[in-house]
Amino acid sequence: MDLGLWLPVLVLIPMAGGAMCWWTERFGLGWPRWIAAFCFGLDLILLLFLWAQADLHGGISHGEPVFLWEFERPWIPRFGISLHLGLDGLGLLLIGLTVVLGLVAVLCSWREIQQHVGFFHMNLLWNLAGVIGVFLALDLFLFFLLWEWMLVPMYFLIALWGHENPGGRGRVYAATKFFIFTQASGLIMLCAILALVFLHHQSSGLWSFNYIDLLQAELSAQAQYWLMLGFFVAFAVKLPALPFHSWLPDAHSQAPTAGSVDLAGVLLKTGAFGLMRFSITLFPEASAQFASTAMLIGVAGILYGACLALAQTDIKRFVAYTSISHMGFILLGLYAGNLMAMQGVVIQMLAHGISTGALFVLCGALYERIHTREFSRMGGLAKAAPKFATALMFFSLASLGLPGMGNFIGEILILFGAFQVAPLLTALAASGMIVGAVYALLLIQRSLHGPPGDLANMQDLVPREQGMMLALMALLLGMGLYPQPLLDTAHTTLQGLVYSFSGGGG
């Protein structure tokens, strides 16, 4: 049997599940929750099955990307648009992350979300279905559609179930800001896609949105550069890279827990993924030309994010800024353009997804109990809630890049790789490790240690949350102590990427 047939199923399960959630709300609030959890569980099983079947050492690619399985059905043949999906090792890992964090998002909303539970889960599932689709799409039209598809449910998640800051900017502000930023950048990408298709049509006489076809498009150097920039901006906003990052802290701090987990854990990764799949692969020469600028932006982001994190008083904003810092590493690694740095990027994406996701779950658990996100009202929580404290400490240490956890492998590989091409810049980036320690320890101090605040009588984590945290800890430790299976899974894809980046593919 052709396993490629399972690819659309990966998207359809959460899609259909979302509709079911909405509909079954009438039978009771438990229904949507269980259905959502079940959908992600099913997807996870399917994915593990595919992973087990995958022949990861199959073809080493030279120029042509190699996919494990593809699925293609014509859709609008007149413009060369088809339902074209493809799964490779990179996509496999990222979809795995999506599904795991989807499960976490459902579990952490179990008690937090009490209103419109069905609609909430529908948005959650549809959003993640869009994300899974983005990781699979091999048709640029389809890709754009799914790219936009992700946004709307996320807008609702923030705008409807978000937190209202008394006196501050509210959830609608945050949701709108998020929407406008991504929408505007999406528009730029749409222009770039259309221009690419037109140019391809001009040179070959063929209308096609197919990724594989467009890889062959012949473009002048200048056209390549501009198109690359168009894609880059769209993905850089999502990542987010430095001047485009300001939507993130607002969106994170106002979003409900599940929304933050989703945003930080998965949505940001679509930016990095887009850079890898499209911006770099479609325009390798232009990307190589642009590399030093992009790396500079990355390093600036590392330090800027870390510096701003220090000054935050709101725990969720704090984590948001640390995310910006970590995404800087990803940009640095991507444009270093060698295999080691790229492998580091993949591990960093997965590890950051898990550690930051977990941190947001903890922030949510905290908010549920003490109804504030202000550091000034915390302190001394370690005494009242030792399990909570252990988890928070574990994930803060992971985020400062302590060896033994996945984040360390990611960061160190990126730095090792980047040092080969840009030693001074990398040395500067490495100083992010110092600032990282400063902010992570400050988080521990402000929330857990010190004299107990007025809210110190906090309930500790309940078994549901404990289980979630233990599972995520185990994943992160596994990633840190034995990352080889993950490295092997992504290897073929990345090698192709490096090959085209270094100009070998022409």
């Binding site: 990052h245 510096c307 101090q445 240690h449």
Partner: protein
Amino acid sequence: MLFGVIAAPLCGALLLFALRGLSQAAVMRIGVGSISIAAILTALLTHGYLLKPQATTVWLWNWFTVDGLQVGLALYLDGLSLTMLGVITGVGALIHLYAAWYMQGDPGYRRFFAYMNLFVAAMLLLVLGDNLLSLYFGWEAVGLCSYLLIGFWHHDPANGHAARKAFITTRVGDTLMAIGLFLLFRELGSLEIQTVLARAQEQWPQGHELATACALLLLGGAVGKSAQLPLQTWLPDAMAGPTPVSALIHAATMVTAGVYLIARMHGLFELSPLALSTVGWVGAASLLLASGAALFQRDIKRILAYSTMSQIGYMFLALGAGAYSAAIFHLMTHAFFKALLFMAAGSVILALHHEQDIFRMGGLRKRLPLAFWSFLIGSAALSALPFVSAGFYSKDAILFAVWAQDHPLWWGIGVSGALLTGLYSFRLIFIVFFGPARGSQTSERPHPSSLAERIPLLVLMLLSIIGGFISIPALDVLPTLDPPHPLGILLLQIAVGLGGIALAWYRFGRRPQHAPELVGWRRLAASGWGFDVLYEHLLQRPWLTLARINRADLLDAPYTLLAALTRAGHRLIIRSQTGHLRWYVRALACGLILLCGSALWI
């Protein structure tokens, strides 16, 4: 068996983390037992090694392999790591036993032993890692445990501050070291220590800049962990942790990791005379400044902290002179007597209900005879009392090597440091144990003395006396120097050490002492020569101010501005829609005139 040495404390730590609600006795059995098992295994390993001195590697698993970088978690045992192993597990087991007594009744008893066991496991990984990256793993993990244990009593923000300071300052060094690893890998294509050393000697001629750069970057890591200039400021503050922690981490093991690193990588340092002499100068400067600062401290633990810094300075001095085995020898004897001193200090502190100011102690000789004798023997070793102390042999080995290497200035610094050492260590003894009793002393002790307190002290006393006769197996790994021992120099060194003690008696021993008012340079010395203030104003403040100014994220401003402009334009257009016919007509007429006028102009 080698794996077992690491596995025992690691399992101990995991058990203690996982099993909440253990009784104190059970915690003690697991916590102390695991280290004791490691110590016994080390003894067996030593026996095996002495029979057949041969380096062995135990492969655990392949950590990761990426694009030519293969990093295995493997343990490498040779004479050098075996010596470190002995110190870590041997002294570690004694300190654990002592801690079982010291920490009695603390609500965080289980957590404490979990951290301590984890620390020992990490420290063992550091010295056994055969790969620079697994060494770095241990390097960071001991830093974490040090952080957790300094801030162990975390309800006091000051302890948290000290812990953060320690972690972040050493992290600065760690980052330099990481950059060193990047450079080594880029140039030599491997991180396996033996391969790196072999390739470095093949590829780089003597004095090559890259060798110097790598060595200096590694030195950056070493000065951070070993609290040497200029990253030394964290160590005195690290005394905020419970005293057994100071004994284990901040005296016997972790702070000497830098010495181990340089000794381990000595093949690289040999390639660069510049780096090697930098090591020596760092040591010389640190030993002088630290022993000067120790002279003016009032806190019993801070005196010992500065003393540790200066003793590590001696080790660096030895490394700089190429006397690696002398450095490791001193590392070992220092672990004995400094652990002894710290634990004795702990007994004093507990007996006085957490009083640490030496000017509020006094006359404790009779009340705490065990602590008194421990201090006497430990201080004798510290100030290198001739023939009857371990410190004498190791310190003399260093000074002779420096003398033989034609570094009269270093030798001079080392000898004057010896004078200061005698002075500050016996100042402490005279003030604390002689003279009248002072301060708020109650007679009953919170912790009755027990075997768990006495055994470690007695064993370490013995080791501080006879430790100089232990022949360390590190000698076959490190190049041996056999410097001549000119009699005149020997006598001079002995005389200076005794002179320091005599001076201490003359100045502090003859009459009761009161806390002096510190002014001028004395105050500067007491504050650790002002480095804290310097760093605070130079680095910390500007960075935090910058962060605070930019709290609202300046880069958000353009977008806010854009939004505001759009809204302003929107309002402007709304203003034109007044609904008054007269206004519309007027606007229409103006528009027409403008239009026709512009058409005419063109």
